[in-house]
């Protein structure tokens, strides 16, 4: 997002020289930082100080992945809370920051990164939890949970399905954590670009029916509200913003996160999520409004009000009973079908991700 208008004056303040071009406007550094902040804070209007009571603080969970968006969201909200406090002596809400560890091998790096974050944003509560904790129902020990997770993952053959299942389990774990720690809602860091990616990749995975819940602000089917304060900011804007604040945010990120997405040469190691990320990184370059239009359009879809709703055993989203499994629709043209898979209680998309063997191992 370098400035196309070299030497131009910032369109907002009309004083300073523009340093970059944002949606075809030349902007100076200060105005751009303000632009990003305003877009995020505008989304947090429900959490202004006037809506908070002195005795009870509203706690919101902020899961941090050390990607550009979640770190930026933490930075912006931290500044916002500080300003609120200075101005009114009160805070509209409190943040609870959560990290989900996925692989033990990264623990050292993670601890270092968490250390950096605590140093800079130490006012907030911090927790970390391992993905295998989702298997910890009924008092399983850490070892058993870990073994069960590994057993499930070993039944999944493709890279796409593996990522898919890991993301779903992570979401479920975060929801569970938020509910257990009395958080009023979850703040997701997804940018416009990320939401558009999600729309197309869920479509590609056969989960078109879940789209109304994938991008909507407000009560989620999990029984806790989801908020996407970064929904109006493009990923490239967030990246440009990283080093315009001081001190810069990029040292806080996970290693290698800023490299452009390149799909592995072999289709076997590529995932649908990587393909979509790559696709939208390129669309975003020349056609940013098309990216936001995808999200805007998707949010117009209405969640179904069907009867006979069950929850899919993996993604835990509501699905009509006769829509479970991959059989029994027009595209399933087999004359004799093994309908067993339909009795697994999985939605169409999740049936593609885990087989019968995996379904038995789900948390």
């Amino acid at each position: 997002m370098p400035a196309k208008h070299i030497g131009a004056i910032c369109r907002r303040c009309n004083i300073l020289e523009a340093t970059l071009t944002v949606r075809s406007d030349p902007l100076c550094r200060d105005c751009f930082v303000k632009y990003v902040h305003t877009k995020v804070i505008k989304r947090m209007e429900a959490f202004r100080t006037r809506h908070s009571t002195a005795d009870q603080t509203r706690v919101l969970l902020l899961p941090v992945s050390f990607g550009v968006s979640s770190i930026t969201l933490l930075h912006i909200l931290d500044g916002h809370l500080k300003a609120q406090n200075e101005r009114t002596g009160r805070k509209g809400f409190a943040l609870h920051v959560l990290f989900v560890e996925e692989e033990l091998s990264t623990r050292e790096e993670l601890e270092k990164k968490v250390g950096f974050l605590k140093e800079r944003y130490g006012r907030h509560e911090f927790s970390s939890i391992h993905l295998s904790q989702i298997f910890k129902s009924g008092g399983n020990s850490d070892e058993i949970s870990q073994t069960r997770m590994e057993a499930l993952f070993s039944t999944i053959k493709s890279a796409t399905s593996l990522t898919d299942v890991a993301i779903i389990l992570r979401t479920r774990l975060i929801v569970q954590f938020a509910q257990d720690s009395n958080c009023e809602g979850i703040l997701w860091g997804d940018s416009t670009t990320k939401l558009a990616e999600k729309v197309l990749s869920e479509t590609a995975k056969g989960r078109g029916f879940t789209l109304p819940w994938q991008v909507a602000d407000g009560m989620s089917p999990y029984g806790i509200p989801f908020y996407y304060p970064m929904r109006d900011v493009l990923k490239k804007e967030i990246i440009a913003h990283l080093d315009l604040v001081s001190p810069p945010l990029s040292p806080l990120l996970a290693n290698g996160i800023l490299a452009p997405t390149i799909a592995p040469p072999s289709a076997k190691n590529t995932t649908i999520d990587i393909l979509m990320r790559q696709y939208f990184e390129s669309v975003e370059e020349s056609y940013p409004s098309i990216v936001s239009n995808v999200v805007r359009t998707t949010s117009k879809l209405q969640a179904p009000l069907d009867a006979n709703i069950s929850l899919c055993k993996l993604c835990k989203l509501p699905v009509n009973d006769d829509k479970l499994g991959i059989h029994g629709w027009g595209g399933d043209q087999a004359i004799l079908t093994d309908a067993d898979e339909d009795r697994l209680g999985l939605c169409y998309g999740c049936s593609r991700a885990v087989g019968r063997e995996g379904a038995a191992l789900l948390p």
Binding site: R207, G208, L301
Partner: protein, 457 residues
């Protein structure tokens, strides 16, 4: 190493890796599986009824050739009792259509089917080559698509056929789902995945009746909507079908090209992805606001009653080269909207409710495409419920009577633009030495359409 036996018959050697699910099959089993899957689609959706006359939209390409071959096979094998007719559109693209039409003519002989060829020149007074000469290579697909849509219906009406089948395959369907998401086009998203699209009057006349087909009640269906493009190619190859494999020389729109590349990449990563996108599309159609109204509780299963007008067909044969013109145009448009929104320059002005209503279906003659008939309005009934204009309501075009949500259908709008720019003073010599002006020649064009409606009555 011992040869791998076929997973179905376990006798023959497996020669084909099914693109759809990576099943290893022998040639015979592949062909019979492919056919029985199409049969399954046809029977589970009750696509046809005995005695129905069906026009197959035939381009000479792989999809329509396979469709014609499979329908002929299944019609004989399962006694569908269908009368199959090939219907070809001659867009007038030199070096592309000439050869493919020759293929269709051979197909007609091979399959022993009646063939009807309808030319853009006789329908609209313009060949695609002439259109491209005028509008350039960018955006000409819009013309071609809009013209073709009507041409198939007009051809069907000429043949007295009420049902046109097209060769759209699963890849096309998936592409359209992604494209409509990228374009933010919910109305199209809600109807593009239906196996059958029909106009409200056609839905009412779904019971076989002797009413003469009119332009506004022709059904469209896609029996190959779940068939993978790669399997269609394999089927054509192993059945040694005679098809024409040159792609259209004019490039497709950027959105479709972009969606097409994405679909191919997805398929490489997960073979079921094409089918999964189609499934998502079908599920999403039900989430589009107003879906229940469109369906009116009448449509069962996967048969949607969405109107066919301006449904995006694209060019089945075009490759994924993208010009980007359409995308940048939309980007500019969206950016302007966003800016207006941000600066609050826009004030919502509510227009008085004005919705064109459907013409009396009993009046099934094709009205003449004539200039100066603008005063003659199609019979419209007063609106009963004061619904806002947000939803498409189908009426018919004031000029030609074709199904349209606007006063004038898209083809007539495009034609008006084309005709406006045609040199008015051009002079040419007719065969008998008489000097005829272009103006005069244009006056005669509607005559061609008039002739059509005479022919079919």
């Amino acid at each position: 190493m011992a040869p791998t036996p076929c997973e179905l018959c376990s006798i023959n050697r497996a020669l084909i890796l099914r693109p759809k699910n990576h099943q290893k099959l022998c040639k015979t089993c592949f062909i019979s599986t492919f056919e029985s899957e199409i049969h399954h689609t046809i029977t589970t959706t009750s696509l046809f009824h005995p005695g129905e006359r069906i026009a197959i939209g035939a381009s000479g390409g792989k999809d329509s050739t396979v469709l014609a071959s499979v329908l002929k096979t299944l019609n004989e094998r399962h006694n569908y009792g269908l009368e199959l007719i090939l219907l070809s559109i001659d867009e007038g693209i030199k070096g592309y259509r000439d050869d493919s039409l020759e293929t269709v003519k051979r197909n007609a002989q091979q399959y022993d089917m009646e063939l009807k060829i309808v030319g853009y020149d006789e329908l609209y007074g313009w060949t695609m080559d002439q259109v491209v000469e005028q509008v350039g290579k960018k955006g000409n697909c819009t013309y071609c698509g809009v013209f073709r849509r009507q041409a198939l219906d007009r051809g069907a009406a000429m043949l007295g056929v009420q049902h046109v089948v097209t060769g759209h395959n699963a890849d096309d369907m998936a592409e359209t789902v992604l494209m409509n998401l990228l374009r933010g086009d919910l109305p199209r998203l809600s109807r593009s995945t239906s196996i059958m699209t029909s106009t409200p009057s056609a839905a009412a006349a779904a019971v076989p009746s002797q009413t003469k087909p009119s332009l506004t009640n022709i059904k469209r269906s896609k029996p190959l909507k779940y068939a993978y493009e790669k399997e269609i190619v394999l089927y054509a190859l192993h059945k040694k079908l005679d098809y024409f494999s040159t792609e259209c020389i004019y490039s497709p729109e950027a959105f479709r090209g972009s969606a097409r590349t994405l679909i191919k990449n997805l398929e490489a990563v997960r073979p079921s992805a094409i089918l999964d996108v189609v499934r998502s599309g079908e599920d999403m159609a039900k989430l589009v606001p107003g879906y229940e109204d469109t369906c009116a509780g009448k449509c069962a299963g996967s048969t949607g009653a969405g109107a066919v007008e301006e449904e995006e067909a694209g060019c089945g044969s075009a490759a994924g080269r993208s010009g980007g013109g359409e995308m940048s145009k939309m980007e500019q448009h969206l950016t302007r909207n966003e800016r207006a929104d941000e600066e609050e320059l826009e004030i919502e002005i509510k227009l008085p409710i004005q919705v064109e209503f459907l013409k009396d279906p009993a009046n099934d003659a094709i009205p003449l495409r004539k200039k100066g008939r603008k005063g003659v309005k199609s019979a419209s009934t007063p609106q009963s419920s004061g619904k806002p204009v947000t939803k498409q309501t189908m009426g018919s075009c004031e000029n030609c009577g074709y199904l349209s949500s606007q006063k004038v259908c898209k083809a007539c709008v495009l034609l008006e633009g084309l005709n406006k720019n045609r040199p008015k003073v051009a002079v040419e010599t007719s065969t008998d030495g008489e000097i005829v002006s272009m103006q005069q020649a244009r006056e005669e064009l509607p005559g061609a359409v008039a002739q059509m409606s005479v022919d079919q009555s």
